[in-house]
Symmetry: C2
Subunit: 409 residues, 2 copies
């Protein structure tokens, strides 16, 4: 099945907005087995919009459109589809009622121009949009499908997942496609690929690795004739992945490293305090994004340099002897964080750029340490990267150390 | 002049990459007065690429392409332009030398396949790319122009600004277009628009306001027949903007609020310490992004709740009486930050969600305070927003308070 994506809106052509809808849909379509050969952005202009639709109608089986479903004169997606198919838009009393109810729930009365959002053509049915005013259109004619959705990403994604995808699965051959992303830290992409090589060779479920900003992701995608069967296939392969690289896995799908740590803290009831040098407070700001366990994160200390470290209870002589960037000082920082913040766990991280002996190469170093009720463990890493990227890696290193340490407890 | 933008790469059609090049170029072209009617993403496929180029060649005066200039068999932009114009690609010895020199500087020898990047067709001249291996192509034929650039954003932007824009200015009518963005805090977009209404009515220079994540931006754009004339026009209008809303302005163009504060600290030599509640350390992590003055930011303290605040030297009785979210406690936090970190300035911020008396509405509150050598000032704000967005606003409120306080010193 050939598909294409059309994003509508003059703001896209002026560069005032980055089109994130198209890549989201492209990824979803490719998982569905639809070949996407073209993505285009078109302005709020009826002639050019109709032209783009005509071209799509000739070369593709499926056109997915976002944007242009608003209530104003600039919103022309419905009009363009009507023109393409030579069908007239007719106001649907049921949809008008839904729209009025939407406004009533918000203590507002519906402006009359919004009636335009409650229209359909004979080949279209409405796709519900409970979180916005614009219903989508599902158009089916001559074996081709057009899906038109609002441009607001949160409305579009909900409509795509809840309203459009189930129907598309049928059109694309009655298959159900399910994915799960298993997220890891402490293993490189090529190593993960190597260890999972027998699984990545399988055509269904497919297993693919991706190097992302929060570690290597392993994506498992299964295609089956029922949701239960697809689910079972994904779960089976996930078990195999866990059997091979399980100790690197911190979460699944939307779960972040901070979420995983929050979960571990909640389960164990252990309180946490942090101390950072060189990361600009990114460790504590990342930890506070956790969806649970936030009440167990008591606080954080951010030091710019040696003087502040000693104010935070790190022995000045030790800093002078070993340097701020050292395993020894990182371990002392973890213990001092515990003491300052009166917590069960102290987590410390220090990072910075260093030069090699010859002064020729600059690289980043990370020292992280965790003090769990007096028991201290630490890790040191070295990266060829920029300082901004080093901070991200330092935060991940520290969180991964903490996760492994609390898991092992 | 009609232009269109073509982004090349199969990874765009799979949704593995968000196309940020197209909006960047769209904005730049619109400033140049070029009308962009179409943006498209096409995969690494010669037939479809040639088709897209043919369509562009028929309907536009200018086609700007990014991507597909690499050395591999998948990189087909040069081949597609050759096919479009029926001209053969010829290896250029001079460009081969440049490429070899690029590899030599990196202690590597050039793989033979890279020779393909050193080709031209008769209608093309090369656009230099000192930071990558792919030179661009400037193609001019039958009154139309094609600009082909690498897809790597940093290489593309440099090439666009340094190599392509000067030539395009001539093609687009000999005009020079210059912009400057003046950035403000503490003033809403509608108020800024209202106060600048006489300037925003002018057709050249144009003055436009934008609500951005770091405050309201005022963009001044002048069009003139020389760079000097355009510069003079921009500077003149900037002076008028400063005359009207000058005390809200913290920076220009790429300067961030943190940069402005770093600059003020450097000039005054004052050291800074922070204490935060509810912001998850975002104040300190934002401050450490400043391009200067970082050595004067001694450290930061992040408290989760009342218990940690008292450990940081904030009087427990005062917290118990007034609550963590209060002007009184914010002022005590600023003073305690100074005392704990032994700095001249203490900056404090506390934010959180609260309910009104009837428990019907939830809103965000921000309390910020600055203690400059014992002299304390504070600010309180209330926002109808989400908690994530409240944190961003809290950090801006605190930084703006600090900026104004140090400026007035």
């Amino acid at each position: 099945m050939k598909g294409e994506i059309l994003s509508v809106g003059t703001e896209l052509l002026l560069g005032h907005l980055v089109d994130t809808n198209a890549p989201y849909l492209a990824e979803s379509l490719s998982e569905l087995g639809v070949d996407v050969y073209f993505i285009s952005q078109v302005g709020d202009n009826l002639d050019r919009l109709v032209l783009a639709l005509q071209r799509g109608w000739e070369r593709s089986d499926l056109i997915v459109i976002t944007g242009g479903l608003g209530p104003t004169g600039d919103d022309l997606t419905r009009e363009a589809i009507s023109a393409l198919l030579g069908q007239e838009m007719v106001v649907q009393p049921g949809l008008v009622e839904d729209l009025r109810a939407f406004f009533t729930r918000r203590n507002r009365s519906m402006p009359e121009r919004n009636v335009k959002q409650a229209t359909l053509i004979p080949s279209a049915r409405a796709l519900a949009n409970p979180i916005g005013t614009a219903p989508g259109w599902w158009v089916e004619k001559d074996g081709r499908v057009i899906v038109a959705m609002p441009g607001v990403p949160v409305e579009m994604k909900r409509m795509w997942e809840q309203e459009a995808l189930p129907g598309l699965g049928k059109v694309a051959g009655g298959w159900v496609i399910l994915s799960r992303t298993v997220k890891t830290l402490g293993i490189g992409e090529s190593q993960a690929e190597h260890e999972l090589r027998e699984l990545t060779a399988s055509p269904n479920p497919t297993v693919a690795t991706y190097a992302k900003r929060d570690g290597v992701h392993v994506r498992i995608t299964a295609k089956a004739q029922s949701a239960e069967a697809a689910q079972e296939m994904v779960t089976g392969v996930e078990g195999k992945v866990r059997g091979i690289i399980g100790d690197h896995i911190y979460g699944v799908d939307r779960e972040s490293v901070a979420d995983a740590i929050g979960e571990l803290l909640s389960r164990s009831g252990l309180t946490l305090g942090t101390m950072e040098v060189g990361t600009g407070g990114q460790l504590s700001s990342t930890l506070t994004t956790a969806s649970t366990g936030g009440d167990l994160f008591s606080g954080g200390l951010l030091a710019h340099g040696a003087a502040t470290l000693s104010r935070f209870g790190v022995d000045q002589a030790r800093v002078a002897e070993k340097g701020t960037l050292s395993d020894n000082v990182a371990r002392a920082m973890a213990t001092a964080a515990r003491a300052s913040l009166l917590t069960e766990i102290g987590l410390a991280v220090a990072c910075g750029m260093e030069q090699d002996g010859a002064g020729e190469q600059t690289f980043g170093v990370v020292y992280a340490a965790v003090d769990l009720q007096g028991d201290v463990s630490s890790v040191a890493n070295r990266y060829s990267t920029t300082y901004a990227d080093l901070r991200r890696r330092a935060v991940l290193d520290a969180m991964d150390l903490l996760r492994r340490r609390v898991m092992a407890n």
